[in-house]
């Protein structure tokens, strides 16, 4: 394989259509782990994913998957999994039959396909319902089938496109658990495309951000959700008493949202806060440094310059 642990490599990848450039000289590598690929609609994310899946030929540059050229190699797709965002499940077939069939379509012999399908359905959380026609499934169950067909042939790498779309909060948490499990327990690396920054923060180790067909950010999630020097405090009652107690101790405090913030906190301020809390009898709900969030990347207006080498 080309460079170290890189599972997917894009090098000067460009895709031009008649009147629009979907990808413009993009270079990045995706390593082992869960990587988020972010960007606005039209930024080039789906084009990049389709190129890695061998569905589109790049105009120039190269896309390598598991060491093979993405477009030329048909065989490498036996080691890739894809969970599309759009509807892609047959209504009249059962999940068990469908997964067995797709496992075979990925190259597994029939008996292995059957056992892999059964095991994968169990890991994806589908039990008795697996013998019923998919048309009758709820959204949550359908998403599990979609994930199952991406994993049934034990790929080395899976592409997940908006896996939590349409799921209610409980379903979303369960799906994100499955995504984490896919890497941490099953050992399969993931490229996750999502518009929900909270999903990305909770599951991804690294991110790649595209905008206008260019790479504008890449790096570890931790880098983008670093702590700031602002301390945020939240109390349920007696807030005014707390503010007074803090001011008496010489602490400068600002009210913000449901709580209070203290800028540029020095070590000693924590003890002052603690004492003020006791004095004001203010029930402490939360005290923590503010963190940057991935949404901050998108709250700035206007375009940003393309990144140099990834972080």
């Amino acid at each position: 394989m080309a460079s170290g642990d890189a599972l997917l490599v894009a090098e000067h990848l460009t895709k031009r259509y008649r009147d629009v450039t979907a990808l413009d000289d993009v270079s990045f590598s995706i390593f082992d782990g869960i990587t988020g690929i972010l960007g606005e609609n039209g930024a080039g994310k789906s084009t990049a994913i389709k190129i890695f899946l061998g569905l589109i030929r790049p105009t120039s540059g190269s896309a390598t998957v598991l060491g093979q050229d993405a477009f030329e190699s048909v065989a490498v797709r036996g080691r890739l999994g894809y969970m599309p965002e759009h509807d892609c499940l047959p209504g009249q077939v059962s999940a068990a039959e469908f997964l067995t069939h797709l496992a075979e379509a990925s190259g597994l012999p029939p008996s292995a396909a059957r056992t892999r399908a059964a095991d994968t359905l169990r890991h994806a959380g589908l039990f008795e319902e697996r013998y019923r026609a998919i048309g009758g499934y709820s959204t949550g169950m359908k998403q599990r089938v979609k994930l199952g067909q991406a994993l049934v042939h034990d790929p080395a790498f899976v592409f997940l496109d908006e896996p939590t779309a349409g799921l209610d909060p409980v379903g979303r948490e369960e799906m994100l658990d499955l995504v984490r499990k896919t890497h941490r327990e099953f050992g399969i690396s993931v490229l996750l495309s999502s518009h929900l920054m909270a999903d990305v923060e909770r599951t991804c180790d690294r991110i790649v951000v595209l905008q206008g067909g260019r790479l504008v950010e890449s790096g570890e999630v931790g880098h983008f959700t670093k702590e700031t020097e602002t301390v945020f405090i939240e109390v349920d009652t007696n807030r005014e008493a707390l503010v007074a107690a803090l001011q008496r101790r010489g602490v400068v405090v600002t009210a913000e949202g449901g709580g209070l913030t203290i800028e540029g906190a020095d070590e000693s301020v924590y003890d002052l806060v603690r004492d003020a809390l006791v004095e004001a009898q203010a029930p402490l709900r939360r005290m923590a440094p503010r963190r940057a969030a991935l949404t901050d990347l998108f709250e700035r207006d206007g375009d940003r310059a393309p990144a140099g080498a990834g972080a």
């Binding site: 409980v170 006791v278 949404t295």
Partner: protein, 309 residues
Amino acid sequence: MSGAPEPVIRVDGVSRWFGSVVAVSEVSFDVRPGITGLLGPNGAGKTSLLRMMTGLAATSSGTVTVFGEPVRDNPPLYGRLGVMSEHETVYGFMKGRDFVRMMGRLRGVSALEDAVDRAIDLVDLAAAQHRRMDTYSRGMRQRMRLAATLVHDPELLVLDEPLNGADPRQRVHFKRLLQQLAADGKTIVLSSHILEEVEELADTVLLIVNGKLAASGGFRAIRAALNQRPYHVRVVCDAPRRLAAAALGLPSVDAVHVDPDGAILVLSRNVLDLQIELPRLAQAGGIRLRRVEPLDDSLESVFGYLVER
């Protein structure tokens, strides 16, 4: 919230059933100006409730009044309502502007072209308005549908999963738009599964579970009302084991876990008790508290707890 004597929407003892299936069961609440979040698991009855609130469906029992009048079969009232349902049905062959204009005309909007301009500007799609909608991305289609919902400047907006398919920048823009509209005195009812966004936007939340209203009001107040629930708090301090020992002395604390990295995780049965006692114990022991983070505090945790109950 607001000083208005009458609520914008009053739902009173409303139920809806289909044969033996009870979709909504004796729900009552008021909606006032500002942003109200309607939450609940899939299949909990939210869609039925929204349809009854907008007059699209009749109640099986109970009444829904909007702006003081019954909402069902009340065409003059619809001019003050803007409704955006979850599933997209737009005519792909239509240009965006034409779609918004058509909806405006259907509503009898006067000064049509200006209203269309304004609505399209609000959703920031002026650049794309002359293109066919089948060339739009999903997020753009949603925004154009929102423009069509806003074209007649309704006082009440009911939006079901309006952010489906929207990318992060569009989400930010949309949030600002809603906040602006709320500041202008409009009433917005927003149904969404993305709780962290509802937490940011909504002053009031309504949680529907199995057809019943499980919680309503300000999120923080709801959370504070759930005093007796299992509550995990992660504490970083400079004497973890001493603080852990002290915490175990509290009768409301069920367990303390010590992390390899030095943080301690306190599991308590009484939220308020722990909130008061933790600083006190730290002070008594001369321990510096650096971080106190509840793990069950998000709208999502509270939601999960209420749904499971």
